[in-house]
Amino acid sequence: MLERTTLKTRMLAGASIAFVVAGLLFTVSWLALSSIARQFERFAQLQSNAALVQSIVNDTSELQRDVEAFIYQGHDSSAREVYQLHEALDARIREHAAKPTPQLGAGLEETRAHLSAYVEVFGQVETQRKRRLELVSRELVSVEARARGALLSALDAGGAGRDELRQAVVDFASLQSSASRYFTALDSRHVDEALSSLRRLERLIGELERSASTDVPETIDHARSTLDALEATFLEAVQRTRAYLYLVNVVMAAEAYEVRHAARRLREQTATQMAESSAAVESTLRQSLWFETLALALACLLSLAAFRTIFRSVQAPVMSLSKTFRELAAGRPDVEIPPHPVDDELGQLTEAARVFRARNAETERLLAREQVLTHDLQRNQRALQRSQDEMEQFVYTVSHDLKSPLVTSMGFIAIAQREAEEGDLKGAMGRLDRVVHANERMGELINDLLELSRVGRVDVEMEAVDLDALVARLAASVEPGLTRSGLVFRTAGPLPTIRGNAGRLLQVFDNLVGNAIKYAAPPAGSYVEIGATSTPTEHRVYVRDDGPGIAEAYREKVFGLFYRLARDTSGTGIGLAVVRKVMLAHEGRVWIDPGEEGGATFWLGFPREGGSAEAEPSREEAPHAT
């Protein structure tokens, strides 16, 4: 997929991935931290709750102390303090409950209810206390005073003895003292003592009634009723005191306990909540740390992988392109160029490499072409050189061979002149014959040269030549010469049909057979034979005799112009030069092998159709090719 995106896109993708990873990391961190912050907020709230609870507990204790102070001392300031404290507490609790997230909820409400109940009970206690106080310190005192008066008057009226009177005063004092003791010490023994004192006084009254006259009962009744009133009042006071004590010791204590319990529960609840919150914070912190580490590691891995992929996707083609360019710079035209499907900077470089390669190929092609041209040029130069050499050789030979008869003519003319001067006319005539002969020879040479020039022309018409037919014609024309020399002429096997000029070829065979007649006639030899073989590139026709043969040193020289192996035979030495010239005009060649049974074998090589005319003959086959 990356291969199909541009370089710029890849880099942008890398940057985006980095950005996204950074963003991811930031988000994760932010989430974790905000979660921790929330937890801390809750913790702080819980802490303020705890403070609230603590203050409630403290204030409750203060309130209870004030209540107790009031109970034991009865100062109104203490009671006011209690109410004020309660009001403040209640307000604080309500304030907390009015908060959007009152975590203490039920516990606090319960505490508040108990507190209200407690303060309500305190209100009752206050009332009871007042009433009792009033009863004990006012009613009872007045009833006691009336009862004492009535009693004393009754005793007085009844005429009771001194002892009895004293006894009643003591008892009454004892009654008063017991009652007083009870209300201060709140010991029920004193109630019994007071009641027994009262019984004794009643008995005293009773005795008095029985012993006294009937006119006194009014005072006694009065005493009796006042005593009864005293008893009732005392018992009511006791009753009230007991109720008050019940309120204080049982109800209030219970309520106080409830309040303390509620407060404790509240504290415990808060403590639990705080512990939970603290644990939550810790666990969140730990989770965040773990998660953060994981996220960081993942981000690192992801970034690394992304960067590695992108880097590789850029680096690999760049390196491969660099290698390609190095190879291209070395001039290689067949460098493999890695494909790059996108038109970005790398695509442009790839395109440039392609152009480079095309240039290299073009250069290579031009170089190859130049090489071919150079090769052609060199070949042409060599051909030209050869041609020039041949020309030089030709001129050298021609000048030498033409000069020779001239030298002869001049030499003999000079001698003839001298002999003529001396009167030896016969001798002079003889010299002139030699001059004529020399000039005839010169004419012959010139004719031969013209002939050679004629056969060497390359613009002759070429056609398919059946060599069998040609040799049949040849046999007819050389018949007289053969008969005269006694040489046997024969043909071996069918001869090929080649492309050439029949007239010229006839001359070639004529010259070769003529050569054989000249050198291989009996007794030197006995036959001349024409045959053929073929190689893939050449048709080879031979003319073979069993004459003396040609020494290896002369096998090339004999094809030279005017070269003759023997002076005593006729001819100018142009025949084989003509043969070679005609063969060259046929793009063929001629060479000599020693015959199998001695003698000479002239080989004519004609290039085959389709075979290369340029094909060099292998050296083993034709060591003396000309």
Binding site: Y396, H400, K403, S404, L406, V407, T408, M410, G411, F412, I413, A414, I415, Q417, R434, A438, R564, L565, A566, R567
Partner: protein
Amino acid sequence: MRPEATARRTVWLVEDDADHADIATYHLEAEDPSVRVERFVDGSEILDRIASFSGREADAWPWLVLLDLNLPKYGGHEVLSRIKSHASLRLVPVIIFSTSGAPDDVERALSLGANSYLTKPIELTGFETIMNTVWTYWRRNQHAVALGRGGRDT
């Protein structure tokens, strides 16, 4: 009487062209009627002669060798080098007498030890002049050859 007047001088003429040989012989005899011209028609003849030459017969000693370069079989250069490497014949003056005046031929002949190089003339009196010069010059310088031969001729 001076010894050279009585002694018959032998000239080795190596020439394949019969006409040229006849003309040269004519002029040599015109210079000195007593001259003996020994002729060779090709390279192999003269080489055979060199190979069989003993130097004992006094008259057979060549006084001069006239050598054509363009010979059938062995060429003139080959003959020249054989003569110049021969134990006793090397002192015999060898005069190249060729139709070719090509610088290559001249240089090669001189480097092989030819004593002189003359081109066959196409002028009417050329032969006469050349043979006269050769004869006059080499008769004068004959003492060196005679010394080489151990004074046999003197």
